[in-house]
């Protein structure tokens, strides 16, 4: 159903998705408010009755064993799950108070504001390093060269990649090492200046040093961005995140501050999982 909608980009919705207010309330706002979310792929009930709020400018980790629905949940947050044929969703997701799934909202606009980094680094093979970073801007109609150049440098600096690639900007993006490619993908995702960055196991295919770099980067980015990160790696969740949600068999078992969840879990299942008794 989503496929047909995207053939022609619709104009931005009349009420723009949450205009960022200048005066921020002292208590941090919620970036996402997810209520009673259920997702099916065909007959498979992948996510079951999940309700949680994700505060802005924090790092929220989602942990759980394989197949527990954590990736699916993440993909609901920027409507990427709709690309899977026969997927179905009920419940509501509000993004800064606005319904992400309202009829008049164009998924492309949603994804411009909620960026995503994937498990497998995927720079576009036909593009150079520089082109890879600016592609999100260029293919959304921005032509100003000076602007693109500045944004490219800024994004690569934020992704801690600038010093490594500044002399090779014209080389193919796929010529970089695995860890560099993943940081290139992060630079590409932040070049469009989204408000949220969703990360689907961004370091699981990387070696420990590259993982460390990506984690440092995530930590840095959390000053400006709301980050939701799915990870297999519990140590990673405890290192980088402020809040952690534990998913098991499609259900949200526990959601709490990271140090609370890892030191004094409320649920028996959480305790079993983090102490390595299963999963």
């Amino acid at each position: 159903m989503e496929r047909t909608q995207e053939i022609t980009p619709q104009p931005k919705p009349a009420a723009p998705l949450a205009a960022t207010e200048q005066s921020q309330p002292p208590a941090s706002r919620n970036a996402f408010e997810v209520a009673n979310l259920d997702v099916w792929y065909g007959q498979k009930h992948a996510v079951q009755d999940v309700t949680l709020n994700i505060p802005e400018r924090t790092i929220t980790a989602i942990i759980g064993p394989s197949g527990c629905g954590k990736s699916t949940f993440l993909r609901c947050l920027n409507r990427m799950h709709e690309l899977v044929p026969r997927s179905r969703m009920t419940g509501s997701i509000r993004f800064f108070g606005e319904d992400l799934y309202a009829a008049q909202i164009d998924p492309a606009v949603v994804r411009r504001r909620i960026g995503m980094v994937f498990q497998k680094s995927n720079p576009f093979p036909t593009m150079s390093i520089a082109e890879n970073v600016t592609v999100g801007l260029r293919l959304n109609g921005i032509r100003n060269r000076a602007f693109l150049r500045d944004r490219m440098e800024q994004s690569l600096r934020m992704a801690a990649l600038w010093d490594e690639v500044k002399d090779d900007l014209g080389k193919p993006g796929v010529s970089l090492s695995g860890g560099q490619q993943q940081r290139l993908c992060i630079a590409r995702a932040i070049a469009t200046q989204p408000e949220v960055l969703l990360m689907d196991e961004p370091a699981s295919a990387l070696d420990p040093i590259a993982t460390m770099k990506v984690e440092e980067l995530i930590h840095q980015l959390s000053r400006d961005y709301t980050i939701v990160i799915v990870t297999h790696n519990m140590q990673q969740a405890s290192r980088v995140s402020d809040k952690t949600a534990f998913f098991y068999l499609g259900k949200l078992v526990e959601f709490n501050d990271t140090d609370q969840l890892f030191t004094r879990p409320r649920e028996k299942q959480t305790e079993d999982y983090i102490s390595g008794r299963f999963g």
Partner: protein, 284 residues
């Protein structure tokens, strides 16, 4: 112990026999190509000269003359065929790979394969009925359309096949950047597979370049220069056909020369395809 050694020898012998047999079969596949090519060169090479490429056919029984008009005619017909076959075929392939539901695609693919199997002379007759009879004239348009129709299913299936090879991760990455689906399709997916798409087009061109049957009732052929696309136009295969069934020795030699040139042209197209596909079309 002895039996196993014996068995071992037997198996080795059998294996050698079958290897030789398969080699012979492979030779039988390649041999006709070699024989045809050698024969063509022997019969036609003497008549392939500058005149052949610069002159129009001479009168019956007269010496000299060439097939310049037929060579240009074939290029014009191929151009028209591309104008019809390439956009339709490529966009159809894009639809099959990127859009469309499973069931609709299954039906389209099935029909496309049937279309691919339709004998080419049928296309000639159909276009004759659709274009030639209402326009009351054989024409280059009709010939180009007939060749274009032959190209569509070929281009469509190869386009689909190379687009499906583009890893889904690229589509997802582009869509996750908020890039509209149609732009993702053009700038990410089709660009990644451009080499494969061009290969498919060239192969389809090579396939229709030698077609004679669909042109018999559409382009008809012409012994003179013709720049009017609504009039009958010469084509190499037609000229070869006309000369080969004529009673004149000079024309027979010219027919051989035409065949040699046509085979050379198709050969060149295929070589350029090899050249294009030498690099990896898609990095996974």
């Amino acid at each position: 112990m002895t039996t196993t050694v014996h068995n071992h020898r037997m198996r080795k012998g059998l294996s050698a026999c079958i290897s030789v047999f398969t080699l012979l079969c492979a030779c039988m596949v390649v041999a006709p190509l070699g024989l045809v090519f050698i024969h063509l060169v022997r019969m036609g090479a003497s008549a392939v000269n500058l005149d052949f490429f610069t002159h129009i056919p001479s009168g019956p029984g007269e010496p000299g003359g060439g097939m310049a008009n037929a060579i240009v005619g074939t290029l014009i017909l191929l151009g028209l065929a591309c104008a019809i076959g390439v956009p339709t075929g490529v966009l159809g392939g894009v639809y099959l790979s990127e859009f469309g539901s499973l069931r609709v695609n299954w039906a389209i693919r099935f029909l496309c394969d049937i279309l691919n199997g339709v004998p080419s002379i049928i296309w000639g007759i159909v276009i004759n009925g659709l274009i030639v009879i209402p326009m009351k004239s054989y024409s280059a348009y009709a010939g180009g359309l007939a060749l274009g129709c032959l190209m569509i299913p070929l281009v469509m299936r190869t386009t689909e096949e190379v687009l499906v090879l583009v890893p889904n991760g690229y589509r997802e990455a582009a869509l996750a950047l908020g890039i509209a689906r149609w732009r993702t399709t053009i700038h990410i997916v089709m660009k990644s597979a451009a080499r494969g798409i061009i290969t498919g087009i060239l192969l389809a061109l090579a396939r229709v370049a030698g077609e004679t049957a669909p042109l018999l009732f559409t382009a008809l052929g012409n012994s003179f220069w013709n720049n009017d696309l609504s009039k009958p136009i010469a084509a190499l295969p037609l000229q070869i056909f006309a000369y080969a069934i004529s009673p004149y020795d000079n024309w027979h030699r010219q027919a051989w020369a035409g065949a040699l040139v046509l085979v050379g042209f198709i050969f060149t197209l295929n070589i350029s395809v090899r050249f294009l596909t030498r690099g990896k079309p898609v990095r996974v």
